[in-house]
């Protein structure tokens, strides 16, 4: 069977703010297998990005990891990311887990050429020998369908947004990390560029063996790329399961509402519904299930008790007291 490369156990992240404590990630647990693509979907402000940053410990200084474990498995070795020393952490970043950020427009130092940024990364991880690094960089740039001769010597501002995003993906693969986190990799790109990025990612996944964590609010992209999908609401996973189960047989009312709020190619436009209300305030969360004020199936119990993730199908879990009702309704 496939082996687990990443295991997150009961992770809590919060930001102290003037009004109170922002609970950005509340008890998230999941695991990621070798070669698997896991997509996190949810509205803005649901804590997806904080989750991604926490995995490589790049949270802003003000953030606090209250509890939890982030375990990386590699060659039979386990690394607890939260317990790494500064130097080990530096080595761990990018070599074991690379993160491609949203808005790659500004991901490159504007005063350095693309090549120096490749060399910088290699040198920071003890890869010496320019020729070797250059060869790998050029291969990777070709893999992301860029012209290496032009791009490698360019300054970031000489490249378009889509090109920069692809360069960043190539840079992410430079050290052959086991896991790559893509945080909104296609935001701020036009639809055709988005498409080519997705194609590039698919091709890379086929050619190179790495696991992918894909954070997005774009359901259609998640549907195309992911093997498994996790729906995030108010800082916690409310449903997780195989991509077909999530899109075809969602059990959680929030996942159902999400999938019904985007148009499908074949579906009728009348089927489109929006989710009433707005995302919850992460400082003052509603008691019980955080989704109950917007949920059509909410009962008294939902207002009082927070539901745990429980199995609702094969490899599918949902955190809802009334998932059976929600299932029958659709």
């Amino acid at each position: 069977m496939t082996k687990t490369v990443l295991e997150v156990k009961n992770l809590w992240v919060e930001y102290p703010a003037r009004r109170g404590v922002v609970q950005a990630v509340r008890g998230v647990s999941f695991d990621l297998c070798q070669g698997e693509t896991l997509a996190f979907i949810g509205e803005s402000g649901s804590g997806k990005t904080t989750l991604g940053l926490a995995l490589v410990r790049l949270l802003p200084k003000s953030a606090r990891v209250r509890q939890g474990n982030i375990l990386f498995y590699q060659n039979g070795r386990v690394q607890d990311v939260l317990a790494l020393s500064q130097e080990d952490l530096r080595q761990f970043r990018w070599r074991d887990c690379a993160m491609v950020f949203q808005g790659a427009q500004n991901s490159f130092n504007p005063v350095l050429r693309v090549e120096s940024q490749f060399y910088d990364t290699a040198r920071a991880h003890g890869m010496t020998g320019t020729a070797h690094v250059k060869q790998r960089a050029i291969d990777l740039l070709r893999m992301v369908q860029l012209d290496p001769n032009r791009v490698f010597r360019s300054f970031p501002h000489e490249l378009s947004g889509g090109m920069r995003q692809r360069v960043l993906i190539a840079l992410g693969l430079l050290l052959q990390p086991q896991v790559i986190i893509l945080d909104e990799p296609t935001t701020a790109l036009d639809i055709l560029t988005q498409r080519s990025i997705i194609e590039v990612l698919r091709k890379l996944k086929k050619e190179l063996d790495f696991s992918l964590i894909f954070i997005s609010h774009d359901l259609s992209l998640a549907a195309e790329l992911a093997d498994r999908v996790a729906t995030v609401y108010a800082g916690t996973i409310v449903e997780i399961g195989g991509v077909y189960d999530i899109f075809e047989r969602a059990r959680h009312p929030y996942t159902q509402a999400l999938t019904h709020s985007v148009p499908t190619v074949t579906g009728d436009l009348r089927d489109l519904t929006s989710i009433p209300g707005s995302p919850p305030d992460l400082i003052v969360l509603p008691p019980g299930c955080a989704f109950h004020p917007r949920c059509p199936f909410a009962t008294q119990r939902c207002k009082e008790q927070e539901p745990p993730l429980e199995p609702v199908g094969e490899g599918q879990f949902a955190a809802c007291w009334n998932w059976r009702e929600a299932m029958n309704k659709t």
């Binding site: 530096r90 080595q91 970043r93 690379a98 504007p110 005063v111 350095l112 910088d120 920071a124 991880h125």
Partner: protein, 363 residues
């Protein structure tokens, strides 16, 4: 295929005609900037020429008043002496004077001082400018490097006691005028505490010390320049610190700094090439302007510390209405400021590839 054929057949025919060549030269960025700089200098020279002559009184009257006060001579006596001494005709129309001056300037002749036994303006500048260049230049170098370093420290340690102390210091010293600090130093350390021998520190060099590459000479030069340099540094460092701090804080928020951390780069590398270099960019324009003003020195500081630099000469020339000297000093200040800016514009492209203009052929 078709387009390819056309383009290859066209290429050899593309000849650089004279007209094309002319436009290429005319559109050259560097050339355009140089012409603009020269035009600026011309305008400034013209304006200062007339403004100087609009000042109340004139060199002859000032001289006559000085003579009357000094030797208690009658107006007539003083006037006669002035007439003998001043071989100049101040009654000539101003436009004629202007044309003469510009004509001489084009030949590289800055004229002669009306006073100081008719010494050449160029000689006066040659004699006093090095002292100013040395003292203000050293101070600017110290102030800029130290200010940038401290600014980065403040940004990295922001919201800590160290940041509060340095911020308060920076805004305090940058808001006190430099002449006040100079006077405070003289009064407290010179007169009251008697730590410094102000009288001995006057001037730019002790009498009897021979210029040369000797330890004694260098030590003496530094001894005399120490107080002016200290005051310049103290009064300018605050603005460099605050500018660098805000610039660094903004740069630290940039995505590429976070990405650099995610890439596992060493902190030292991130601090220099990713944060420092980008944060210092906006300061270079300011630095260029400051370099230009190094030439002008500071009239008040040089006067207070009796440091024999160009600023002191300027003050003297203004008091005596010594038109040629004033013009000469204003001219070199103008040239220095304009060319420092020009250089900054041309060099900025080296520092920031995003604004590399014109120098590269458009593809």
């Amino acid at each position: 295929m078709a387009t390819q054929a056309i383009s290859t057949s066209l290429a050899p025919q593309k000849r650089t005609s004279l007209k094309v060549y002319f436009w290429r030269v005319a559109n050259n960025y560097v050339l355009r900037r140089v012409i603009k700089a020269l035009a600026t200098i011309f305008v400034v020279i013209t304006v200062t020429f007339f403004i100087i002559r609009l000042m109340p009184s004139n060199p002859v009257d000032i001289f006559i008043q000085e003579q009357m006060a000094l030797y208690n001579s009658s107006y007539q006596e003083a006037r006669d002496r002035a007439a003998a001494l001043f071989a100049i005709d101040l009654t000539a129309p101003v436009t004629q004077q202007y044309l003469d001056y510009m004509g001489n300037l084009l030949r590289g002749d800055l004229g002669k001082s009306y006073r100081s036994q008719g010494a050449g303006v160029a000689d006066i500048i040659k004699q006093f400018l090095p002292w100013t260049l040395f003292s203000v230049g050293t101070a600017l170098f110290i102030s800029f490097t130290l200010g940038v370093a401290l600014g980065m420290v403040m940004a990295y340690r922001r919201e800590t006691p160290l940041d509060y102390v340095l911020s308060t210091f920076a805004s305090l010293v940058s808001s006190i005028p430099n002449y006040l600090i100079a006077i405070i130093i003289i009064v407290t350390f010179g007169s009251q505490l008697r730590i410094l021998n102000i009288a001995q520190m006057r001037g730019s060099i002790s009498p009897g010390v021979q210029p040369g590459f000797t330890l004694k000479f260098i030590g003496d030069v530094l001894y005399h320049a120490a107080l002016p340099i200290f005051v310049y540094v103290l009064t300018t460092i605050g603005s460099w610190m605050l500018a660098m701090k805000s610039s660094t804080v903004a740069t630290l928020e940039e995505d590429y700094v976070t990405v650099a951390r995610a890439r596992g780069l060493k902190d030292s590398r991130i601090m220099t090439s990713y944060v420092g270099r980008n944060a210092a960019l906006p300061l270079f324009t300011q630095l260029a302007i400051s370099i230009g003003f190094v030439v002008g020195g500071s009239v008040l500081i040089e006067t207070i510390f009796v440091y024999q630099g160009i600023g002191q000469q300027l003050l003297k020339a203004i008091n005596q209405r010594d038109y040629p000297v004033m013009q000469g000093i204003f001219l070199i200040i103008t040239v220095a400021v304009v060319f420092a800016n020009l250089l900054a514009d041309l060099l900025y492209g080296r520092l920031d590839p995003r604004i590399r203009v014109g120098s590269e052929e458009t593809k």
